[in-house]
């Protein structure tokens, strides 16, 4: 049974193993405005979390953001590596999660065909 007790243990583990910490790791942000949600943002986020778990990647922080005004390109996913640019991917489907995690999150390679914007 998952309990708050287990969360305490998790905290100890996170404190002792800094590799597991996301504080200066990679950020994955999914747009969750109304049209993002309708376009499947929640499923995309779940698929990304799944991939991260499957590959045992540590230190990834997931976040969500509201409407960013690119409704026609939903689902939108931003990936920010420490010190790197902010890459915005558009028209992301749950089936793209594998590539985004394997290529960008793990190997730092931008998945070119899905990029819609880039900012520093």
């Amino acid at each position: 049974m998952k309990s708050l007790e287990e969360l305490k243990k998790l905290r100890e583990k996170l404190q002792s193993d800094t590799k597991l910490r996301a504080a200066d790791g990679i950020k994955v942000i999914v747009g969750m405005g109304t049209c993002g949600i309708a376009a499947g943002a929640r499923e995309v986020m779940a698929a990304l979390m799944d991939e991260v778990k499957k590959r045992g990647v540590a230190g990834v922080a997931f976040q969500q953001t509201g409407c960013i005004g690119m409704c026609d390109k939903e689902v939108l996913v931003d990936i920010i590596s420490p010190g790197g640019p902010r890459i915005t991917y558009g028209n992301v489907r749950p089936s793209d999660a594998g590539r985004l995690v394997a290529e960008h999150v793990v190997n730092g390679q931008i998945v070119k065909d899905l990029v819609v914007a880039k900012s520093v």
Binding site: K2, R21, G33, T34, Q64, T65
Partner: protein, 184 residues
């Protein structure tokens, strides 16, 4: 929106966008009264009275001036179709409370959907916000309070960290399963 859990995600996003510091989600399934209720309340900036009055009307304002999106009119429509209603109680500067009720057994009631996935994602985005989720089913209740999580995790750990998300996923799924248990 395919199911109610996606509407819930949308409602909570509105509360976050309204600058709320405390957000509460209450879901109640009452078989005896044949009612399913969803209530989201926040202490965000609230809506002006004229805005709240037409927030359910998809044609009342232009798309660009509309800050709460099309989520509320959509939700109002599905609630009415399922023998229920949507109420908006909002005061500028104090907050907003949205209540949706459905007939539990109504054939047109959308399924609740994956509420655990919704709550998990809300919690991930709740850095400076206290979010409380309570789900009642008959005599059983399940509560997730990010305040309690924050107390355990301390200041530095991000709720969105994959290890925390994994714990939360299990905690929610087991807690929600237990809601069905002891009830005959």
């Amino acid at each position: 929106m395919r199911d109610l859990s996606l509407h819930v995600l949308d409602l909570v996003q509105n509360a976050v966008a309204a600058g709320a510091k405390n957000i509460s989600l209450l879901i109640g399934e009452d078989g005896e009264k044949d009612l399913l209720s969803i209530e989201v309340s926040d202490d965000g900036k609230g809506m002006a009275p004229d805005f709240a009055a037409c927030a359910k009307d998809p044609f009342a304002t232009t798309r660009t001036s509309r800050k709460v999106g099309l989520g509320l009119p959509l939700m109002d429509m599905t609630a009415k179709r399922a023998g229920g209603r949507l109420d908006i109680d909002s005061r500028p500067g104090e907050g907003t409370k949205i209540t949706a009720v459905y007939r539990l057994s109504h054939i047109d009631r959308p399924p609740l959907g994956d509420i655990a996935a919704t709550v998990k994602i809300i919690a991930a985005g709740c850095q400076g916000i206290f979010f409380r989720y309570e789900h009642r089913k008959g005599h059983n209740a399940f509560v997730l309070d990010t305040k309690a999580m924050r107390e355990i995790l301390g200041g530095e750990v991000d709720f969105g960290e994959s290890a925390v998300m994994e714990w939360l996923d299990g905690f929610l799924r087991e807690g929600l399963l237990a809601l069905d248990k002891t009830e005959g």
